[in-house]
Structure formats: C-alpha cells, structure tokens
C-alpha cells in the first residue's frame, strides 16, 4: 500500500494543471460554454499534442499506454478548471469501449485517430424515458442486407454535434428479458439521417438530442457481438461514473482553497470573513466533505485501474461525490454572498457543473440502489 501519488503522477498533474490554467482561463471556459459548439479546436489540438486523448490507448495504437489512474489525474485537473469540450466523451465513451470490445480492425481504424485528436467520439445511450438500464433501450436497429437500419431518438448525447462517430446503443431483438438483444453500433455522426441538436442544460455541456432516421450502418460497425452489447454498456457506464467522480473531486479540491482564500480576502465589519468562527466551522465541514471523498474516489479509481471488480466501490464513490460536489459548490456560493450569485464568478460555474455531474452516469438514487444490492439488502 502506498497512498501517495508517484513522482511521475505528480509531474503529470502539474503539467496538466499548467496547460489548463494557461489555455482555459475562466473567461475562456465561459466563452466555450457560451459558444454554439462548446468545443475549441485550438485547445483540442493542444491536448492532442500532449497526448491526452491517447493517454490510456496502448502504444501499439499510437497511444501512451498509461493507466486509468493516470487518466483520473488529468480528469481531476480538468474538473478543477471546469474545462469544457469533447475530451471526456471521446476517451470514456469512445476509446474505452473500443478497447474493451472492439475488433482488431476497429481498434486499428479508430484508436490511433482518437489518440492523435483526429476523431471525436460519443455514446448515444439514454432515451426519452430516462431509464439507465437495458429496459430503457427502445431505439431499433433492423438488419437490411449488409447493413442495419437505425430509427429513433437518443437524448443527452454529450457533444454529439461535434462528434465524428457515435456509439449507438440499440435494440436488435425483443427477447424474453430486456437484457437480451442490445447491440452497439459505431455510427458515422455525419451520415445521412443523423440529426443532432443541443439540449440547453444547466451544465451547458452540449448534451444533445440525436435522432436517427433510416440510418444505415454496415454490420462491420457492430461493436462487440450482435444482441450481446449490454455488458459493454455497463462497463462503459461504470468506468465513466468513476471518471466523472474524479473530475468532480478535482473541482471540489479547487473549491475548498478558493473559498478559503476568498474568506481571507473579503472584509466586512472591518474584518476578513475568515475571522468569523461560524464561517470557520462551515469551512471545516467543507474540508471534511472533501477529505472523506478523496480516498473513496482514489480507491475506486485504483481498483478500476487494476481491473479489480469494483461495481460497489464505484457506485459508492460516485454517489458520495454527487452529493458532496453539489454541497460544496452550494456553500461556495453562500460564502461568496452576492458575488457568488453572479454568473460570471467561478462559484456559479462549479454549482451548475456539479448538478450536471451528479446526473451523468447515474444519479445518487441510482447509485444507492446499486449499493443496496451490493451490501446484501434483498430485493
């Protein structure tokens, strides 16, 4: 056991932070957020140069062959800087599922291009009824010659408007159990019949409606096996959940010192607010919330990184961070007072993102139900 980061990891964190602080100053974050695309090509290229999109892609596919734990460090720093863009979906919802389940051919075709920043990926999973499980998949893919034809609407597809490819989760068979007959397709996001539109959301992350009208996808673009795609989806969801928790943790780790500094600077009644014990105890509570979150996340990240079974640990970390990120950002606003409620101040950015992060890949209720089963409560 060694609960410290390695020297390499500390350097990775520092270089990541340096890049983000330089490229993503608060004004830039807001500019990207407010733009139609939510994606800055120049920054994207900078990330590609640093190899971030290929961080966890093996060297044989032109990646850096680093671990999920290393990736989580990058994600933490992105969370701290509230960096918008298609990084998360490309890596977690594109590169990883292909690594998990792709054919050698698919790996060769897509992974190098992901690694060098040529391709943006995303995952189209949720539908109108917002059920995060097999029974929520109704979009049909029907075989027709060498193709499958997809019809239906997916919601909350991150960055779909910028994506080159979408991994679309479809129903290819109505079986006895909803868990049967789920198939994943790698779909050209610019193909005829695909239409994407941004859904305005609190996090402004360009979650989209993606509609599919008679979209023909060649059979070779099936990811994994026909009708047996559910385990791939579940793995992607689990990994994305803990990755989102890392991103959130980074934000929380930014909120605490930033709020503390604000209280030391802001003078009211001729004193820095930091002088008031009632606020000191709120800050202490925030420190406790951050500290107790940290190692829960780090342990789940480590397990995920080591390939250990960690469904319970991930659900625990995600559910806990869901609540604590929201709570810390809420307190950040409260302690900033009037300044906290301005859209142009950082507290609001965190507050809005925290809500979005708590929903992505399973909200607290969803995760707690997983945990209830995992700790043995009969259902």
């Amino acid at each position: 056991m060694d609960t410290s980061f390695t020297e390499e990891q500390t350097m990775l964190r520092k270089s990541t932070a340096d890049f983000l602080v330089e490229k993503y100053p608060e004004a830039k974050v807001r500019e990207i957020e407010e733009s139609d695309t939510g994606h800055d090509l120049e920054i994207w290229r900078g990330m590609a140069e640093l190899g971030w999109m290929g961080l966890v892609i093996p060297e044989e596919y032109e990646g850096m062959g680093m671990t999920f734990q290393d990736l989580s460090i990058v994600l933490e720093e992105m969370g701290r800087n509230i960096a918008p863009g298609p990084f998360f979906c490309t890596v977690l919802e594109g590169a990883y599922p292909i690594l998990d389940a792709g054919s050698e051919e698919q790996k060769k075709e897509f992974l190098p291009k992901i690694a060098n920043g040529e391709l943006i990926f995303t995952l189209a999973l949720l539908e109108a009824d917002d059920i995060h499980d097999a029974s929520g998949i109704a979009v049909r893919a029907v075989p027709k010659g060498d193709d499958f034809v997809i019809n239906g609407i997916k919601l909350f597809v991150e960055q779909a408007i910028n994506a080159d490819y979408m991994i679309v989760v479809t129903r290819t068979r109505e079986g006895a159990s909803p868990e049967d007959g789920i198939t994943l397709f790698i779909v050209d996001a610019k193909a005829p019949g695909v239409h994407c539109e941004v859904i305005p959301t609190i996090g402004m992350e360009k979650l989209c409606e993606a509609s599919f009208k008679d979209v023909a996808v060649p059979k070779k673009n099936i990811l994994g096996e026909l009708d047996k795609g559910l385990p791939i989806v579940r793995k992607v969801m689990e990994r994305a959940a803990i990755a989102k928790a890392s991103e959130s943790l980074g934000a929380m780790d930014g909120i605490v010192p930033m709020t503390n500094d604000y209280l030391k600077d802001r003078v009211q009644y001729d004193e820095p607010l930091a002088q008031f014990q009632a606020l000191q105890h709120i800050m202490a509570d925030m420190f406790i919330s951050l500290t107790t979150s940290k190692y829960l996340v780090y342990k789940a990240v480590w397990m995920e990184s080591e390939g250990l079974p960690c469904a319970k640990e991930v659900a625990m970390a995600k559910s806990y961070v869901n609540q604590n990120y929201k709570e810390l950002s809420r307190w950040m606003i409260r302690l900033y007072g009037g300044n906290g409620t301005h859209r142009e101040f950082k507290p609001g950015l965190y507050y809005r993102r925290a809500k979005a992060a708590s929903i992505a890949f399973g909200d607290t209720g969803f995760q707690r139900e997983k945990i209830a089963r995992a700790i043995g409560l009969v259902s």
């Binding site: 609190i202 979650l207 009211q268 009644y269 004193e271 809420r330 606003i333 929903i359 909200d363």
Partner: protein, 411 residues
C-alpha cells in the same frame, strides 16, 4: 389561541385569491414560475399588466392612511402576498411598495409624501434600492458612495451594486455618505433620485441562471436636489432602520413554495417510470411529505408573525429572522428535490425538452435569492443569537484595536 379568520377576513382573502387567479390566466406561455420572475425581461409586459390591475384595485395602497387613498389593513397585505405567491404573480415593486412607502409614511414630510406616494400607489413609478456596494454587503454601514452638499443640491459620486431592478426603475432611494470623513453609522443620508439623471450609468450583472435582476450603478457627479432627502442630513442610517411597517411574514415566498410543491406532486402522479407513477416510490413519498411539512410549518409561522405584527409592529422580530432563514433553506432544498426527482430532466433549461417548463432547473439556480439577499442566513443567525438569545457579540479586532488606541492615548 385561535387561527380562525373572521368572515370579513375570509371574504377579503378570497377577493385577493380570485383577483390573482384571474390575472394568472393571462400568464405568457414561457413564464417560468419562481419568486424571481419579477425581474425577467421577457415578462415585463405581463408585469406591467399585473401592476396596473393591482393599482386599479387599490392593492398597492394596502394599509396606507385614507388621505393617500389607503385601503385595507396589515392583514390585507398578508392575504395579498399569499395570493400573489400562490399564483406566482409578479407586479409588485417591493422597493416602492414594501420599503419606501412605509418609510415615507413614517419619516417623510407632507411635501415628499405628496410628491412620491401617488406614483407608487398608482403603479406608475418603479423604485430601486441603492444600498449595497462592492465592499458593503452584509456590512451595509460601510457604504462609501458620497453625496456632498453644494448649495441646493447634493452631488453624488461612487458605486452601488447588486441593485435589483435598477434597469427598470424610474427612481431610486439609497444611502450615501454626506461626510466622507464620517465612519459607519454616522454621516450617512437617505436620498431619493431620478434614475435617468445625467451621470448615472447602469450595468447589468447576470445572475447564475442568466436572469437580469442585479445591476451595478455608477455615479459620476450626479446632481440631486436637496429636498430629495428623507430625514435630516447625516441621519440616514436611522431612516433606513425605521422600516417598522415592513411586512415580515415572508408569506409570499411561503405561498409560492407551497404552490411549487403542488406542481411537483402533480408531476410525481403523472410521470411513470417502468410503468409505475413516481408518486408510488416510498423514498419520494417520504421526501415530498417532509418538504410539505416544512412548508406548512413556514405557513403557520407566517400567519403567527402577521397576526402578532398586526397587533404590534415591533412584535415577533426574531421569529421573523427564523422564518426567513427557514424559508430560504426550504427554497434551496426544494429546488434540489425537484431536480432530483426529474432525473436527467432535472438539468434541462426551459426548452422543448424541459419538463414542467424548466421551472426546477431555473429554481435550482435561483435558489439563493432568499438565503443571500436582504441579510444572509448567517446574518439572521447572528441577530437571533445576539438579540433574540442575548448571547454576547464576539469581539472584533477593530474594536479591540480602538480600545487599545484609546488606552494608549490616555497615557
């Protein structure tokens, strides 16, 4: 102890509810319910419509003396607030109606009353409150914007901020330092001014959810006639503290929150997940019931405060602070509960994808309008502790330094 309204009161209350219900039918389609709807630009025509209708019915002069066209009682103000809250109607300029008018009635001379009250009562003049400054938020007595007497005028320089509705207001009232050497509660004066006067610049400050409620206001040699002072020069702090007639029950917010919970109950009944209404989920039942209890507790407390204040304007002061903290917390938590229940839709802003017209996402962002404005929850708790519970005020380093300096000067 008797919670029964008299027949007359029931009748009046019904009138307010029916009037507000009628008006609510004219709400624009894209009107998002929330106690912050008052300031949304797109709502302005409807806001004016409501205000004019209220004025016509005399509801902007509730509790005023007859010579200024006053009708009704303090309880009528409570009923009106409850009704407006329930139908989440805008159209009452709280700065003119709730803050300035009572101040003028209590502290103004006949001339200023004659000059300004009719515009307020008729809904013709909108007001804003020029109190807060970048370095004077919770600590209002730290204002530094100056108003220097020159002949028959005051010349104003400086900055105000978090000025709600300044962009719509015709007139403003506020606190300015008439002697720049003066400290804290001394040497502050209470002035009224035309917000269109030369030298005033108003910059919008976007709220979290993009609503335009707050502004920064800059003063660059703004000339204000000297007779637009209320009270004596340098006595403005006392004027600002004299809002004895301010309606403190928070009934409007309580009533609005109650209505929002009703719509959440409807949503839970109508929305099925896996074939079962959300309303059947025991966790949701428990949490919604818990919220309903707290709102009901707020409501009974509001009525208590209203009744006590009706009998004695200075009654129930600490209960008012408690009520404000409580409803503020409820507002924050109801936004959280509503968005949680909506799942992925809880993050969707008003749009064709939104459920319940995006009211929950909007509320989640507007959550702080009650916990931060008009004295943060933390300030209210100080008030409860220091004045309500007579606990000793913690020492401030500055007061200590002063004491030390005094002791040393005595050498």
């Amino acid at each position: 102890m008797d919670f029964k309204l008299s027949e007359e009161e029931e009748k009046r209350r019904k009138e307010f509810f029916e009037g507000c219900k009628e008006l609510s039918k004219e709400k624009p389609k894209d009107f998002i319910d929330g106690i912050e709807a008052e300031y949304e630009k797109a709502n302005q025509p409807y806001i004016t419509r409501c205000r004019k209708e209220f004025a016509k019915r005399g509801w902007l002069r509730l509790g005023w003396p007859p010579e200024y066209g006053g009708v009704g009682s303090h309880m009528d103000r409570v009923f009106f607030g409850e009704a407006r809250g329930y139908y989440v109607l805008p159209g009452v300029d709280i700065f003119g109606i709730e803050m300035l008018a009572p101040t003028l009635l209590a502290m103004g001379n006949k001339e200023v009353k004659d000059r300004y009250l009719p515009g307020i009562g008729d809904g013709d003049t909108l007001w804003c409150e020029l109190y807060s400054e970048p370095n004077a938020g919770s600590d209002l007595a730290a204002v530094t914007a100056t108003a220097i007497r020159k002949g028959d005028e005051y010349v104003i320089n400086g900055q105000k901020t978090w000025t709600t509705n300044a962009h719509n207001a015709d007139w403003g009232f506020g606190l300015f330092r008439t002697d720049p050497q003066g400290r804290k509660r001394r040497n502050i004066s209470f002035l009224l001014m035309d917000m269109k006067a030369p030298g005033i610049t108003i910059n919008p400050l976007e709220y979290l959810n993009r609503m335009h409620m707050y502004n920064e206001v800059f003063f660059d040699d703004v000339h204000v006639p000297a007779d637009q002072i209320i009270g004596e020069e340098n006595q403005g702090w006392a004027v600002s503290q004299a809002l004895v007639n301010f309606e403190r029950s928070n009934v409007l917010a309580v009533s609005a929150v109650g209505r929002l919970l009703e719509t959440l109950v409807e949503y839970c009944n109508e929305t099925k997940v896996g074939g079962k209404p959300l309303a059947q989920d025991p966790f949701i039942r428990n949490k919604v019931a818990e919220m309903a209890v707290e709102i009901e507790a707020s409501r009974t407390l509001a009525y208590y405060i209203a009744d006590q204040q009706n009998r004695n304007q200075l009654a129930a002061l600490f209960e008012s602070s408690a009520a404000k903290v409580f409803i503020g917390d409820i507002y924050e938590r109801l936004g959280a509960l509503g968005t949680d229940i909506l799942g992925s839709y809880g993050q969707v802003s008003a749009s064709r994808w939104a459920r319940q017209r995006g009211v929950w996402e909007s509320m989640y962002q507007a959550a702080f309008v009650l916990t931060i404005s008009m004295g943060t929850n933390e300030i209210q708790k100080n008030i409860i502790a220091w004045y309500g519970l007579n606990m000793p005020r913690p020492l401030s380093p500055v007061s200590v330094e002063k004491a030390l300096a005094t002791a040393q000067a005595a050498k």
